[in-house]
């Protein structure tokens, strides 16, 4: 009797997960989604604890306690700007769990055939995703250099190590009894994960994080094959397809392929002759910027990773409020790859209390630019570079951009004239209608807000 309840609990849990993702489609239902997801997880865990195979509880309870002791503070005290790092870290944890379970299962049952194939896939993806995610974490946390590190023959070395890992994996599938191969297989997978991320630059992190998300999910799904557990297969497949779709969206938003992101070492500074050329730019003070913004009817703010670095999102919300009060139409244009992970800008601006209906996607905002009085670019660079559209030889040619250059006036807040992450000069800065606002994003915006507040009060 009891035994027939467990499959039912797993099925309910799977239904909960599917509904959770379905309700994520809109902010209005998303929180409900989290609740059904939690219920699903609870049912699955309780269902598992009650199974007759599980007899020793003390280690499990200690592990629950340690996991919660790490997880709760992370969830409540971590600043929102650190979300990309946390995501990378949790991919590492998930992948590690899956790889270790695979390893334990290997030494426990030494499976053959199809199950062994799934096990090899599970551990390969698990270990490589674990170290790759830790490397991504290091780059996002800036413990490691964010610029790509390259050396001659890098791709050959990487492919060689991956090939060797796969070959040993195949040997293990053919005869699982060769236990001495397993540690070698593990080390190669771990090393490949590290090597994979070394040549990837900071600006490509959105794609890489999404791809690692996909790998972690696929690894969990493979675990479902090993343990013959349909719930794991479903949850892993949902996670895997989610990461994959996000990675595709990110690639498309940069007009690049997966292999170009993974092996292209994008973002190494191009020592071109062009950079030596000093071109004149127009710059402006906060007072002048405030005057122009005040006279505008519509303003589009374009945030990028620089906004996150400068923590300027709260000041931007103040700017949004004060301009809205004066009857200026203000919205934020969000490029899919702005920031360091999919949706990064949206979360930061939402945290600063910007209403989410003011956050507009690229395809919706682009037709509006010719009618926009001021485009205010803050900490973004490549996503507004007209070279992507106009210069066929540019490294970012064909990348969809926000058409800021079509606005009547363009203002760019920037620390200096250094090129962005793609290492490409931006013609937008040299246009006649462009004003460069040099300085720290946060203090510059707060300067503008101060000017606007000091000006004639709003006639209400």
């Amino acid at each position: 009797m009891m035994e027939s309840i467990f499959p039912a609990l797993y099925i309910l849990a799977a239904a909960g997960f599917i509904l959770a993702i379905k309700w994520m489609s809109s902010p209005a239902t998303a929180r409900r989604g989290v609740i059904v997801g939690e219920i699903g997880m609870l049912l699955a865990v309780v269902g598992t604890l009650l199974r007759h195979e599980v007899v020793t509880y003390e280690w499990i309870l200690i592990a629950f306690f340690i996991g919660s002791a790490i997880g709760v503070p992370v969830a409540y005290y971590m600043p929102m700007t650190a979300v990309p790092q946390r995501t990378a870290f949790s991919h590492a944890c998930g992948a590690l769990a899956s790889a270790l379970i695979g390893t334990a299962e290997y030494f426990r049952h030494m499976p053959h055939g199809v199950v062994m194939t799934a096990l090899v896939l599970e551990t390969l993806l698990g270990f490589l995703t674990c170290t790759a995610s830790l490397m991504a974490f290091g780059k996002l946390q800036e413990v490691l250099p964010t610029r790509p590190i390259t050396y001659p023959g890098q791709n050959i070395v990487n492919l060689g190590i991956f090939g060797l890992a796969v070959a040993i994996g195949v040997a293990l599938i053919l005869s699982p009894e060769r236990t001495w191969l397993f540690p070698i297989f593990t080390v190669l997978s771990l090393v490949f994960g590290v090597l994979l991320i070394i040549p990837i630059g900071g600006a490509d992190m959105p794609t890489v994080i999404a791809l690692l998300n996909s790998y972690a999910g696929l690894s969990a799904s493979a675990m479902g094959f090993v343990l013959d557990n349909k719930l794991l297969i479903v949850a892993g497949a949902l996670d895997g397809s989610s990461g994959f779709i996000l990675a595709v969206i990110m690639c498309r938003a940069m007009n690049r392929s997966f292999s170009n992101v993974l092996f292209g070492a994008f973002g190494t500074i191009q020592a071109s002759a062009k950079e030596a050329l000093e071109r004149p730019v127009r710059s402006a003070s906060p007072e002048e910027a405030a005057e122009i913004l005040e006279a505008a009817r519509s303003v589009v703010i374009i945030p990028g990773y620089g906004m996150a670095v400068a923590q300027a999102q709260h000041k931007l919300r103040e700017l949004h409020d004060v301009l809205t009060k004066r009857g200026v139409e203000v919205c934020f244009a969000i490029h899919p790859v702005a920031g360091r992970m999919p949706g990064h800008m949206n979360v930061l601006l939402a945290e600063a209390d910007v209403p989410y209906d003011r956050l507009v996607e690229m395809d919706e905002i682009n037709p509006e630019f010719p009618r926009t009085d001021v485009a205010l670019v803050i900490g973004a660079n490549d996503v507004v570079n007209p070279a992507a559209r106009l210069d066929k030889n540019s490294p970012i040619a064909g990348m969809p951009i926000l058409n800021a250059y079509e606005a009547h006036t363009v203002m760019v807040i920037k620390r200096s004239m250094n090129p962005g992450f793609a290492g490409i000069d931006n013609d937008l800065y040299y246009m006649d209608k462009t004003l460069m606002l040099f300085g720290d994003a946060k203090s510059f915006v707060s300067g503008i807000v101060k000017e606007l507040n000091a000006a004639v009060p709003v006639a209400s």
Binding site: L231, D239, S241, P355
Partner: protein, 98 residues
């Protein structure tokens, strides 16, 4: 039907379902989506519990299982809590003033 055949069917259908569902998620919510799916895939905790709690578990498998339970519990707990924390911040115009 062999058990792995059934499993492949399940995988295929779930993957297609995933594609259809995720495509409909607004880009606005891509970050919370990622942390939610991360929490969901921490269902690996189920496998970890089975290995750690087993009667004849060797020291090796129990240690591996133990670490796996810690890692996936961290993901479950922080994943769901942080998704909710993020979603709470998404407000429409007007909501903020209430």
């Amino acid at each position: 039907m062999k058990s792995y055949e059934l499993a492949i069917w399940v995988f295929m259908l779930a993957a297609f379902l995933g594609f259809e569902l995720i495509r409909r998620v607004s880009p606005l919510l891509h970050t919370p989506l990622m942390s939610l799916t991360n929490a969901i895939s921490a269902i690996a905790v189920v496998g970890a519990i089975l290995i750690t709690g087993e009667k004849e578990a060797s020291t090796l498998t129990r240690t591996l299982g133990f670490i796996a339970v810690v890692a996936s519990t961290t993901n479950v707990v922080s994943g769901y809590l942080i998704t909710d924390r993020m979603l709470k911040m998404f407000k429409k115009r007007g909501d903020a003033k209430k």
